[in-house]
């Protein structure tokens, strides 16, 4: 379960151009549920997602994940949280262009310090789940948008995280690939993962397996 209490995030807070991205966010996400964070560009949904994922630190407030306070962790612990608990899919995929699909995925397992052969096995399983194993040795910069997305998904799943965070996952996909992505989400939901998707794509409004949608406007939240 993810519990967020009175969360604030201000960028450039010591400067004249300080910008409050989040103002007093309170929400709860049940374990195993699929939640949408909806809002226009600049509403704060990506910021909220990155705070839940431990990629950034809030200006004040609490984020508890599985009863553990993650909003103020030293880096060593924050990164352990990211590598063990969270899998993230980014809007622009954020893959390492010079590496192949398989190598990009293994990179996410390195912090876990498992034996290499075990990592390779987990990578293979993850690629099969995301339907990208046929492109395992292909360099990432030669993939199509949909294939890159599937590679990013495989990477997000390889460490078998409990929480999957997706930031605008369909922004760079065509209709066909978007539908494929949604199918993968359904599978993940069936596996009991907690899924949080930050998106302004209206296609997600029509899905029947979404448990909750939060609308974020100017850094504040309203539920519907």
């Amino acid at each position: 379960m993810i519990v967020i209490e009175n969360l604030y995030k201000t960028y450039n807070e010591e400067r004249a151009d300080a910008y409050p991205a989040l103002k007093g966010i309170n929400l709860q996400i049940e374990k195993g549920s699929t939640v949408i964070l909806s809002g226009v560009s600049g509403s704060g949904k990506s910021t909220l997602l990155s705070l839940i994922g431990g990629l950034d630190k809030p200006s004040s407030g609490k984020i508890m994940v599985e009863e553990r306070l993650i909003s103020k962790l030293p880096d060593l612990h924050a990164s352990a949280y990211r590598s063990q608990t969270v899998g993230m899919v980014f809007q622009h995929f954020n893959l390492i262009e010079s590496l192949s699909v398989e190598e990009n995925i293994i990179a996410a397992l390195i912090p876990l310090r498992l034996p290499l052969n075990k990592m390779q096995k987990m990578t293979q399983e993850s690629m099969e789940l995301a339907n990208i194993s046929h492109k395992a040795s292909q360099q990432v910069n030669a993939l199509s948008g949909g294939e890159k997305q599937r590679c990013a998904i495989a990477r997000a799943l390889v460490n078998r995280p409990n929480i999957i965070l997706c930031d605008e996952p369909t922004a760079n996909l065509d209709k066909a690939n978007t539908l494929k992505f949604i199918e993968i989400l359904k599978t993940l939901r069936q596996l009991g993962k907690t899924i949080v998707i930050a998106t302004h794509d209206p296609i997600f409004q029509a899905l029947d397996f979404i448990d909750q949608t939060y609308f974020i406007e100017n850094g504040s939240i309203r539920s519907e």
Partner: protein, 397 residues
């Protein structure tokens, strides 16, 4: 222990993989590194090789060399001194030498003429080292000499094929047969040397029967050396005493000096290189920032990124060092260091070729490695930290 190895296996795999795939990124740094190591190693190899050769030669010389001084300058030494020196306890292998510079006036070049008693034990060892076993009988049946390669080349160029006529102080000419040429390997010390019987050398330089250039002897017990020096000063007021330690120290200092000068010049280059490195790695191309940001986002800690960057640089250092040293080894010991050897050996009186004896001391390599690795790693530490601590979200934008 096995678990620990397994845990780092994947890290090492990933490190080498990315280094290989992104090798172009590091080309400039590696290239400059190899160049710097190459130059530095070549200088140190030449220096230590020369030093070793010279010190080896010094070892074979007598422990002490005694000369007479007149008005502060070395002059002919009376051979009567031998009887007095012989009396000193602990002195062995006493021998006399006649030597000097013979100038070939038409060209202004000179030969180092060394006259020795060919039957003397001390000298025969030295001689054997230079020219090998030789038929002394045929050598002594006529006025003969043994010449260094530089001398031989010079004489041949001036049409002296089998003999050379020395002009003596009395005005008369002395024709001497060229019996043998010294081996090329002796060029360092004997390139412009002419070795002949002592009587002949006396004649050429106009020395009296009872005069020599200097007297050499050995004192096996090193603890006695200072006492011997004192006794010699008490015996003769006008004596200059040179002991082997001083010569060795002189060579050490000379090579340290020359090597030191190079190292100090190297420091300047090094500082510039460090600045270049710092700026190069601090620039942090946006693609690299993004990559590091991505790794952080998928769970790499700052510590892991720092280790990753550190070992990346260590591999670059080790590879550059190895290649640079190997190239320098080939340049010095296989190609005989063209251009560089002139700096150490200076303008030769007579031109010559010299071969360097391969010398590979662990200490020398260790010094080289520290001299290169530490500045390199120091220069890249802070840029590596900066890149590691950039927030992942910011880095990925």
């Amino acid at each position: 222990m096995k678990n620990k190895i397994l845990r780092y296996q994947a890290f090492v795999y990933f490190l080498t993989l990315t280094l290989w795939k992104q090798k172009v990124k590091h080309t400039a740094a590696v290239f400059i590194s190899i160049l710097i190591i190459f130059l530095l190693s070549a200088v140190l190899f030449v220096s230590s090789s020369l030093k070793q050769t010279l010190l080896h030669t010094v070892k074979q010389q007598g422990d002490f060399t005694v000369t007479r001084l007149k008005a502060g300058y070395a002059t002919q030494t009376p051979s009567s001194w031998i009887e007095q020196i012989e009396q000193i306890e602990g002195v062995t292998a006493l021998t006399t030498r006649v030597h000097g510079r013979y100038f070939y006036q038409p060209k202004g070049k000179s030969f180092l003429v060394v006259g020795i008693d060919f039957f003397d034990e001390q000298n025969s060892q030295l001689l054997e080292a230079l020219i090998g076993k030789m038929a002394l009988k045929s050598f002594l049946s006529q006025e003969s000499m043994v010449v260094g390669q530089g001398v031989k080349n010079f004489l041949t160029a001036h049409f002296y094929e089998d003999t050379f006529s020395f002009k003596t102080p009395s005005g008369a000419f002395k024709e001497v047969h060229i019996a043998k040429q010294l081996d090329e390997s002796t060029n360092l010390i004997a390139n412009d040397m002419v070795i002949m019987p002592i009587a002949l050398a006396r004649e050429i330089f106009g020395f009296d029967e009872n005069e020599v250039s200097d007297i050499t002897f050995n004192v096996p017990n090193e603890a006695e050396w200072d006492t011997i020096i004192t006794k010699l000063h008490l015996l003769f007021y006008d004596v200059r005493i040179l002991d082997k330690r001083e010569i060795q120290k002189g060579y050490e200092n000379m090579f340290n000096y020359k090597g030191g000068v190079f190292l100090i010049l190297y420091l300047v280059t090094l500082l510039t290189f460090m600045l270049i490195l710092y700026q190069r790695y601090a620039m942090v191309y946006s693609s690299e920032r993004k990559e590091i940001g991505t790794l952080r986002a998928v769970g790499w800690s700052i510590k892991e990124i720092l280790l990753y960057k550190f070992y990346e640089n260590v591999i670059i250092v080790v590879v550059s060092f190895t290649v640079g040293v190997l190239l320098a080894y080939g340049y010095v010991f296989l190609a005989n260091a063209p251009f560089l050897k002139a700096i150490f050996l200076g303008n030769a009186n007579l031109s010559y070729t010299v071969g360097f004896t391969p010398v590979l001391e662990l200490g020398l390599l260790g010094s080289l490695f520290l001299l290169y690795a530490i500045p390199f790693l120091v220069a890249v530490l802070i840029p590596a930290w900066k890149i590691a601590v950039t927030p992942p979200k910011e880095a990925m934008q």
